[in-house]
Symmetry: none
Subunit: 230 residues, 2 copies
DNA sequence: GCCGGGCGTCAGGATCCCGTCAAGACCACC
DNA sequence: GGTGGTCTTGACGGGATCCTGACGCCCGGC
C-alpha cells in the first residue's frame, strides 16, 4: 500500500495505524516520488492513498499518471469537500474520496471495502494512439491491431516514455530506470533502442511522429502528434 | 439499477435523475420488496442503492440478505453519519456510504466509480479455447472433449496463466504464486512445467499457440490465438 | 570552409535465455 | 520393501537478445 501525503505528521499517523492494521506501507511526500514508488517493480502497491494537495504536482495529475497502468484501487484524501472536486477526482479514476479531517476507523473500513472489491477493470490500462496501442497492464503492444513483440529492454524503455505522455524524459532519467544508475553516461544505448522502437512502432521510422528526440536533453512521447507534413 | 428508499419524494427524485443519467432504474420502498426485486431474474440489477432507514427491515439486514449472492456494488445511503455506522455498513459488504443530505452530482460520480470497477465478475469459472477447456471451479481440463490429468504443480501454473488471459504474467509472479517467495530465481522450474503443459494441451507443442513465451519477462496465455501459419 | 558534438544506422560477436532430456530424490500407497 | 507418480536438479544446443564500435549525417560555432 502506498500512502502519498505532504504532511509529515499525518503521514506518520497513517503509517503507524495502517501497519497496525496489517498493511504493508510505503510512503511518499510528493507526486513525483509517488509515481516513481508506484512504478518501482519491487513495490507495486495493491492500493494507493492519495492526498490531492501536494507541493509539486496537482493530485489529479498524479492520478492521471497512475491510471493508465495502475489497476488497483486509489482512495483520495482531500481537505476540499466541494462536490465538484469530488466528482472530478472520482471521474478521473479514484475509487473513493475522503475529506479531511476524517475518522481513522472510517478510512480503514473504506480501504477494506476498496481492497475487497479487487482491481479495476484491465481495459482501462491502455495508452492509445492513432497508430498503435500500449497496454501497460498486459504488457502488450499492438500496431494496427497486430500484436508486436518487444524485448525486455525495449519494453522497459517504452513504458517509461508512455507513462509520461507529452513530458520530456531526460536521458539520465531513462538510462537510470532502464539500465540502472551505473549507466547514466551510455547515451548510445538510447539511440540504439529508440531506433528499434521506432522501427517496430512508427509508421515511418525515419520521420518519427510519436517518439521524438530532444537533442541533448532526452526523448518525448506524444500521444496525439500533429499530422505528418505531406 | 435498484433504488431502495422509503421516502417517496427522494425515490422519485432519484428515479428521475438516474434515468436522465442513462441508468435503468427499478425502485423499492422497503426491505422485503427490495430483496424480492433484486432476486427477480428479470431485473437482476447491476448496482443497488440502499437506504439504511427502512420501515420493515434494518438496512444491514437487507445488505446481509443481498450479499451472499449479489456480486455487484451496493451504495448505502443513510441519514446517520456516525463513524461506527459507516464502518458497520462497509464491513457488512457495502461498497460506498453516502450520508444524507447528499449532493446529487457526487452521488452520480460515486455510482459511476462503483460501476467502473466492473461487477467483480467472479470470473467465468470456465475458460474455453478452440482446442481445450479449463474449468477453474472443477479443476478439470479437457482437450477436444477428453479429460486430461494434470499434476498439482501443473494445475497451479496453468490456472495462474488462464486467470489472466492475454496478460503477460512475469516469471517472478508465477514462481511466487506457485512455489512461494523463496523460489523467485528458479526460472528453470517454469521451463520444465511449461513444456509439460504444452505437451498435454497444445496441438503442436513445438509451436505453441496458446501458451506463449516472452523471453526475459514471462509467459502469456492467449484464449483466441491467430491461426497457425502454413 | 573546417571542426566537433550529438544523433541515427548497421553489423558482428559475447552473453543470456529458453526448450529439451534424463537421472536422481522424494513421497504415498500398496 | 516395492512401485508408480511427482518434483527437483543439472547439462546441453540453438536461438534470441544485448552490448559495442564504426560510420555517415546534420547542425552550430569558429
Amino acid at each position: 500500500m502506498l500512502v502519498v501525503d505532504d504532511d509529515p505528521q499525518l503521514r506518520r499517523a497513517l503509517r503507524i495505524t495502517l501497519r497496525a492494521a496489517g498493511f504493508d506501507v510505503v510512503t511518499a511526500e510528493d507526486g513525483r516520488t509517488a509515481l516513481a514508488e508506484a512504478a518501482a517493480a519491487a513495490a507495486h502497491p495493491d492500493l494507493v492513498v492519495l492526498d490531492l494537495g501536494l507541493p509539486d504536482l496537482d493530485g489529479t495529475e498524479v492520478l492521471a499518471g497512475l491510471r493508465p497502468w495502475f489497476t488497483g484501487p486509489v482512495v483520495v484524501l482531500s481537505a476540499r469537500g466541494d462536490s465538484s472536486d469530488k466528482v472530478g477526482a472520482l471521474d478521473a479514476g479514484a475509487d473513493d474520496y475522503v475529506t479531511k479531517p476524517f475518522d481513522m476507523a472510517e478510512l480503514l473500513a473504506r480501504l477494506r471495502a476498496a481492497l475487497r472489491r479487487g482491481t479495476a477493470d484491465p481495459g482501462q490500462a491502455q495508452v492509445v494512439t492513432d497508430h498503435f496501442t500500449v497496454d501497460l497492464a498486459a504488457k502488450q503492444v499492438t500496431v494496427d491491431g497486430v500484436p508486436v513483440r518487444l524485448t525486455p529492454t525495449e519494453w522497459a524503455l517504452l513504458s517509461e516514455l508512455v507513462r509520461n505522455p507529452g513530458r520530456l524524459v531526460g536521458q539520465r532519467e531513462l538510462l537510470q530506470s532502464v539500465w540502472g544508475p551505473a549507466y547514466e553516461r551510455e547515451t548510445n544505448y538510447l539511440r540504439v533502442y529508440l531506433a528499434q522502437l521506432r522501427r517496430k512502432l512508427e509508421p515511418d521510422p525515419a520521420h518519427p511522429r510519436y517518439l521524438h528526440t530532444e537533442p541533448g536533453m532526452g526523448y518525448r512521447f506524444l500521444k496525439d502528434p500533429p499530422p505528418p507534413v505531406g
